[in-house]
């Protein structure tokens, strides 16, 4: 079995990791052709205007492949367009839920987020054809006007493996996906062409998701009112890190839920306990601030609510395995 553990969000790097793990020579190209020893097929990657990354694969592997994408802090999403001919049994895992698919054509569009750990176990001989689009929450926010649409997205993601089969690929999806595969290298407007196709895929996925949400109501463990409350609780938490966060008791009052329910449902929806989530988000914010080069370590510590910089340094080091000072030094 070949095991891929992915802990970053760089598709170019992913391609290189693939090459190394599979023992294929790699020369910084944006594609990889699988040699017979490994299987048959091609993998391509490209990125668009520093905002979107796209991964294309059309391959059959000789060995079982297990890929794991662990949950991480900087929020990002992957929109998958899977078109698999499954022989034997393929396993999808989202956090603690598992879904198996046996001997069938799996042809769906689905969104995953790094709030949860995602795994795919693909048996040998399965024809894997897929396009994956990776974007961060900033892009999604800017692009979808996410503030008002966030609840829909969170509800969808909280379905975990149940969300996998919601959206089937139809002719319109296939048409756009083929365009991504078939772009001519010499087209002077290649990037805009690719970006427009990706945007249309994202648009189609979300328009159809929004329409279907009502039909899906029965599936949600968390009801609509609670979703709104949880999203509100999350927004209160990450609103301003320079102030002390509200206690759980206070937060539960602010969103009119009992503290126990809030704690349980928050974890269900966002993948982390309230405090762990808060901590991750503010350290992530710190990382962004340091990367701008405008804040030194002390200022950054203050901006995210640490009065004692050494506590901040310890927490930062524990989380990112690097000292904040080293990061500030880079820029």
């Amino acid at each position: 079995m070949i095991v891929f553990n992915i802990d970053h969000k760089n598709y170019q790097k992913l391609l290189k990791d693939f090459a190394v793990t599979l023992g294929i020579p790699y020369n910084d190209t944006d594609y990889l052709i699988l040699p017979e020893t490994v299987g048959k097929g091609i993998i391509k990657v490209f990125s668009l205007f520093d905002e979107l990354q796209v991964f294309l694969i059309d391959a059959v592997f000789n060995e079982r492949i297990l890929t794991t994408r662990k949950k991480s802090d900087d929020q990002y999403y992957i929109l998958h367009f899977d078109d698999f001919k499954i022989t034997e049994t393929l396993k999808f895992t989202v956090e603690d839920e598992m879904l198996q698919k046996t001997n069938m054509h799996h042809s769906v569009a689905r969104l995953t987020s790094n709030m949860f750990t995602n795994k795919e176990e693909i048996p040998p001989g399965v024809h894997v054809k897929a396009v994956k689009v990776l974007f961060n929450s900033k892009w999604l926010k800017k692009y979808l006007g996410l503030d008002s649409n966030e609840a829909v997205l969170q509800k969808y993601l909280s379905l975990k493996t149940e969300s996998i089969d919601i959206e089937k690929l139809d002719a319109a999806y296939h048409h756009l996906l083929n365009d991504l595969w078939e772009i001519e290298k010499e087209n002077p407007l290649k990037n805009i062409y690719l970006q427009n196709r990706v945007s249309l895929l994202v648009e189609r996925f979300f328009s159809r998701l929004f329409e279907k949400m009502n039909l899906l109501e029965g599936k949600f463990v968390i009801n609509e009112e609670d979703v709104q409350r949880l999203v509100k609780a999350k927004q209160i938490l990450v609103n301003d890190f320079s102030e002390q966060p509200p206690t759980i008791t206070k937060l539960s009052k602010l969103v009119s839920m009992s503290a126990t329910t809030l704690k349980r449902k928050f974890k269900d929806m966002f993948g982390d306990s309230i405090y762990a989530y808060y901590q991750k988000q503010r350290l992530q914010k710190a990382k962004e601030l340091l990367a701008t080069g405008k804040c030194n370590v002390k200022e950054t510590a203050e901006a995210i609510g640490y009065h004692n910089p050494s506590n901040f340094i310890v927490a930062f080091k524990r989380h990112f395995k690097i000292l904040p000072g080293d990061l500030a030094g880079i820029s």
């Binding site: 649409n149 139809d170 805009i192 062409y193 249309l200």
Partner: protein, 334 residues
């Protein structure tokens, strides 16, 4: 007469001034309704997430209207999609060149640059529908990889008034254009995305075709301005109203003051398909749009598009899209 003269390189402040000049103000959404003495309709500025600005106008003029954009040293470009119904005549100004149009419709796609003066005069009673997209030099470079000294763009811009009729406003443009105007009126949570994507497709199509024309060397026009204008009128008549039988070719030829053979040949040259094929294709696109709106049955759509026989409609639809209208409806219900 309403005069408006401006040098803005920002659509938001341009529209704010425009609103002021007709005695009103912009709403927080960036739009204003014309006071009835000037026009019936609205004007709206959109700032898209990718940094583009666009103006949408949809109005019937109740007064004569003269608008001039003065050239400026700040380099930026405006891609204009206009669908006007002209009352009496229209004057278009390009630097010192003036041309007059007296046809009753003007559907055009054109790129203008801030390095030239540009403007137009329209008479009371004219219908103005348009989408203008503002692109900075930097935006063009980043997203389209086009530098402003790009040969294709320079050559195109140097044509000035001659560029006006270079790019026909055809089915695909019209489809995107109409979706934007219709979406604008809706209250869809993904409205911005849908509009942005359609605007990007308009841009993609314009530049793709511009480059292609350059490659195949048909950049130099083989038709006269007059001929192109007559073809545009023919096209507009053809797709105007699908609830009535289409005009016959002899009727169209008569209106276009051309022989039937000449009209047929030139139409195909400019729009890529024969007159009847073009009519049918647009009719089917309209059918699909109506079905996708989920407001009408297959039978109703057939009737709205002047099919006396429903099976002719289903056959024609299947021929165009490879799917029966009833199957499309089922697909949509899934």
């Amino acid at each position: 007469m309403l005069y408006l003269s401006y040098t803005h390189t920002d659509y938001y402040s341009f529209l704010a001034d425009f609103a002021k000049s007709v005695g009103t103000t912009l709403t927080t959404e960036g739009s204003f309704d014309f006071p009835p003495n000037f026009a019936k309709g609205y004007n709206k500025v959109l700032t898209l997430p990718n940094g583009l600005q666009a103006i949408i106008i949809d109005a019937v003029l109740n007064d004569d209207f003269c608008i001039t954009r003065n050239k400026s040293a700040d380099e930026f470009y405006a891609l204009r999609f206009d669908e006007f119904h002209i009352n009496e005549k229209m004057t278009i100004k390009f630097d010192k060149e003036h041309i007059h149009k007296s046809e009753n419709s003007r559907s055009a796609v054109m790129l203008t640059s801030s390095l030239f003066d540009y403007g137009f005069i329209l008479k009371k009673g004219s219908v103005v529908k348009g989408i203008n997209v503002l692109m900075t030099k930097e935006w063009l470079a980043k997203y389209l990889g086009i530098s402003s000294n790009d040969k294709v763009i320079q050559k195109y811009l140097a044509l000035k008034t001659a560029s006006i009729n270079l790019e026909p406003f055809d089915t695909q443009y019209r489809q995107l254009f109409n979706t934007i105007l219709e979406e604008e009126k809706k209250d869809n949570p993904l409205k911005t995305v849908i509009i942005q994507n359609r605007i990007m497709l308009l841009i993609e199509r314009f530049f793709t075709r511009l480059y292609k024309k350059m490659e195949t060397k048909i950049f130099r026009k083989t038709l006269s301005d007059e001929e192109i204008q007559r073809l545009m009128n023919t096209e507009a008549k053809l797709v105007k109203d699908f609830s009535l039988a289409p005009p016959t070719i002899p009727q169209l030829a008569k209106k276009a003051v051309m022989s039937e053979t000449k009209l047929k040949t030139l139409f195909k040259k400019v729009y890529g398909s024969s007159i009847y094929e073009y009519y049918q294709k647009n009719r089917m696109i309209r059918a699909r749009y109506l079905l996708e709106s989920r407001k009408y049955s297959v039978k109703e759509v057939g009737m709205m598009l002047n099919f006396k026989n429903l099976s002719n409609f289903t056959i024609a639809f299947k021929k165009e899209f490879g799917i029966l209208p009833s199957n499309l409806q089922e697909e949509l219900k899934k």
